[in-house]
């Protein structure tokens, strides 16, 4: 009997991606909570990801797979069910392109805009706005980045839909609004109303409290 375990953390957007993918495929798994934010990693995690010592790690039939995007591709190749990546090679390549764009280009300035202040924040906000405009453009005529249903780009964009939106609320940032980005706004609504997404995202109040605690700790340590 195939055994699937996922090493993750309740508040991590990365391990959340994997949970969404496993649920989309209807795969049962055991979630093993790792206390990563307190640097209290288990010996098993260190054994299965000796190179990076990070979550998420998927364990399938005793073999580990590391790095969330690598794991997403593995899940798509291993289990039947709704496709995470398109079948057509060109469309697959474009999905990989936008995934990389999100991770390498969009998320850093969005995080920077949330956590920094002053000139650094202004610069990050400008950069993030330009990138969001590009993302907005890719949603033309589509409900999700993946088309009619959620795909890899939507899964990776969970950070925007939940973590970033919460950070915006806490900090008063108004980078991503329905007025400024109507297509992204609509995508947010559609994404967050998917049952799998709703049941997998960490609770908003718990995440809000955790962010507030981090902001508090950062301010008092200055």
């Amino acid at each position: 009997m195939a055994e699937v375990k996922l090493f993750g953390n309740w508040g991590s957007p990365f391990s959340c991606r994997i949970e969404i993918a496993l649920k989309l495929k209807g795969v049962e798994y055991e979630f093993i909570e790792e206390d990563v934010y307190n640097d209290n990693k288990s010996p098993l995690l260190l054994k299965y990801n000796p190179v990076h010592k990070k979550i998420p790690v998927l364990l399938h039939n005793g073999k580990p797979i590391c790095e969330s995007v690598v794991i997403l591709e593995y899940i798509d190749e291993t289990w039947e069910g709704p496709s995470i990546l398109p079948k057509d090679p060109y469309e697959r390549a474009m999905a990989r392109f936008w995934t990389k764009f999100l991770e390498e280009k969009c998320f850093p300035p969005m995080k920077q805009a949330s956590w920094s202040t002053g000139e650094e924040q202004e610069k990050a906000k400008e950069e993030a706005t330009e990138l969001l405009k590009i993302l907005e453009g890719t949603l033309s005529g589509k409900k999700f980045f993946g088309g009619d249903s959620i795909g890899m780009v939507d899964i990776v964009a969970n950070f925007i839909a939940h973590w970033f939106i919460i950070l915006q609320e806490i900090t008063g940032l108004e980078l991503l609004t329905h007025e400024k980005f109507p297509k992204l706004g609509q995508w947010l609504d559609d994404y967050l109303s998917c049952s799998i997404i709703k049941e997998t995202l960490p609770p908003k109040d718990k995440l809000t409290a955790s962010f507030q605690a981090r902001i508090q700790a950062a301010t008092t340590s200055k």
């Binding site: 190179v51 399938h60 073999k63 797979i65 590391c66 790095e67 690598v70 794991i71 591709e73 593995y74 190749e77 291993t78 090679p89 060109y90 697959r92 390549a93 474009m94 990989r96 392109f97 990389k100 764009f101 590009i134």
Partner: protein, 236 residues
């Protein structure tokens, strides 16, 4: 096996290691293509049209559709032309290959590039990180001819720059990352890679031209030289 396909174009820059990967991948599949040299310091409308988001090379154009980013192009090539697969068939082995390609790119290529463009403490830190990454790659290569085993594949193509470009960067920036005495498995891999019948026959930029080019880049990126020096941008 020759595949005459006149609808494949590769937009590149003569010295780019990213473009070089795509050349190797196409050659290993026996795919014919039209090469279009792009002056990346004086970009044409072509690159803006084909890669509007990043405006970078390489871009592969197949049946009129453009694809950027070497990692993405390599996977596309493998999925479109299914003979001589460069990625393993087994999903776990594929995941392992993707993991190591990403690791090497971020931890070795990324750090070595910083080493090329910096000096003093910053360079020292970059060299240390590069060596740590190379140590992990050495472990990975022990007892194998290529990263995937006996056959050349995806991870070899991604890491091919180590075999000809890393020594140039080391020379230009007076840094030592790859010591053949300390990395016997990497040394053996470099030889296997360079001597592979397909790799051996493929274009590589000349050592002298690379040295001049990267000396200029090091000066510019360290901030000690004006950015435009057009005679270093060659037309091939």
């Amino acid at each position: 096996m020759e595949n005459k396909d006149s609808t494949v174009k590769l937009v590149g820059f003569w010295v780019s290691p990213f473009v070089q990967r795509v050349r190797w991948a196409l050659k290993l599949k026996g795919i014919e293509y039209e090469y279009i040299e792009e002056d990346i310091f004086n970009r044409s409308h072509l690159l803006s049209e084909l890669n509007p988001v990043h405006q970078k090379v390489p871009v592969l154009v197949h049946n009129g559709k453009p694809l950027p980013e070497s990692f993405i192009i390599l996977e596309y090539i493998d999925e479109t032309w299914k003979h001589n697969p460069s990625l393993p068939q087994d999903p776990h082995e594929r995941a392992t290959a993707r993991f190591w390609a990403k690791f090497a790119e971020e931890k070795l290529f990324g750090a070595a590039w910083i080493g090329l463009c910096s000096e003093d403490d910053e360079q020292e830190g970059a060299v240390k990180s590069s060596i740590e990454a190379l140590e992990k790659i050495e472990e990975k290569l022990k007892g194998k001819n290529f990263f995937g085993g006996d056959r050349i594949g995806y991870v070899d193509i991604i890491n091919g720059w180590i075999s000809y470009m890393l020594p140039i960067w080391e020379e230009v920036a007076s840094m030592k990352i790859y010591d053949p005495m300390k990395f016997p498995a990497v040394t053996s891999w470099i030889s296997n890679f360079r001597e592979h019948p397909v790799i051996k026959e493929e274009y590589l930029p000349s050592k002298d031209e690379m040295i001049v080019y990267f000396q200029w880049r090091r000066k510019v990126l360290k901030g000690t030289y004006p950015p435009m020096f057009s005679n270093l941008v060659k037309k091939i």
